[in-house]
Symmetry: C2
Subunit: 207 residues, 2 copies
């Protein structure tokens, strides 16, 4: 399973936003929803080997972690409005999520209370990478393996506290080229790199 | 200038669609709008060296070419609803576009009547590439250069007539990895490859 964690500094975690004005009313949840599409949806299909963890720090009720994907995921559509509607209903259905366990509120959509410190133990020692401008190129670092975790900021980037926490956790900083890109493009490019690595490994294993 | 051409087999070219149901009412124009974002928008900025040509074959009035980007482009926002609203207004403002010349209807948005045969002369001998599954990897082919054109299908792929026309035009088929991806992810990955090539060329020229 590959993991993407996107930290939404102001993204609403309560469902209290307008589908008609997502950028203006949701704390830029739209940025995170585009990451969900890029991580999970491929041409006419859904990646079953990918999970997205959205850390939603906006709203008045404390940070939440919305996990999307995996074997049970269904009904995900690529357009922003459909994804926003699904996430809004999911968040609104659980105003007080539990702090330690995920509730599966819709197929493949799981919610808990928590922030990065509560999420990190879930990595269970798997290799962790932070997307960071100017860091060594992902193509040059050791192959990240199938179970790697990738941590990505939203439009406002990763905050210093999150970076320090990830450093202490042993996450390696990597970059994906010379231009600073939207978070969803970062997810698409990392996914492509992982697809290529897995394809090469598969070919080598089969030869 | 880098060019992306996305052929929308059924995408509406008249503006007669609902913002509230883009996938269901616009002939999947949403797929093409996501390509516009991926080609033109980067973190807190707009690529001035990229143009997107959307071939809109849907609607009752014949195919149109909507060109977006370049030095005059402004007011492009990344969320689908904003992009759809902008494109809807632009298309509706010009019910009978001219067949040979572009009208700039909004800053950086140009419209003409026409389809692929009318667009190809605009390439002016620049290198052309068709994104096609199973073709040689873009990373392995000769560097495409700054002025290359990339032709991409929508969710239903490129039709046989378009592929034949592009073959006759000398366009080279290339792929970007082992998994069949959404068109906007293809645009993001090709853009990243071009960014890397240009950065390498820049470093070599400066060394």
């Amino acid at each position: 399973m590959r993991h993407f964690v996107v930290i939404g500094q102001s993204a609403d975690g309560t469902g209290d936003f307008s589908i008609e004005d997502l950028p203006g009313s949701s704390g830029r949840l739209d940025v995170l929803l585009r990451c969900v599409r890029a991580a999970l949806l491929v041409s006419h299909g859904l990646r079953k080997d990918a999970l997205v963890h959205l850390i939603l720090r906006g709203g008045s009720a404390g940070a939440r972690i919305l996990r999307i994907g995996g074997p049970s995921a269904k009904f995900l559509r690529p357009d922003e409005r459909s994804l926003a509607t699904l996430v809004k209903k999911t968040l609104a259905a659980c105003p007080t999520p539990a702090p330690e366990t995920y509730a599966e509120l819709r197929p493949g959509l799981f919610l808990r209370a928590g922030d990065l410190p509560q999420l990190l133990p879930e990595t269970g020692g798997a290799p962790c990478f932070v997307l960071h401008e100017g860091a060594p190129d992902l193509r040059e670092v050791a192959a990240p393996g199938r179970a790697a975790w990738f941590f990505i900021g939203d439009h406002s980037g990763l905050d210093a506290a999150a970076l320090a926490l990830l450093d202490r956790h042993g996450a390696r900083r990597v970059s994906i080229g010379p231009v600073s890109l939207h978070s969803d493009d970062v997810v698409a490019i990392v996914s492509n790199e992982l697809d290529r690595l897995e394809s090469t490994r598969g070919a080598e294993a089969g030869s």
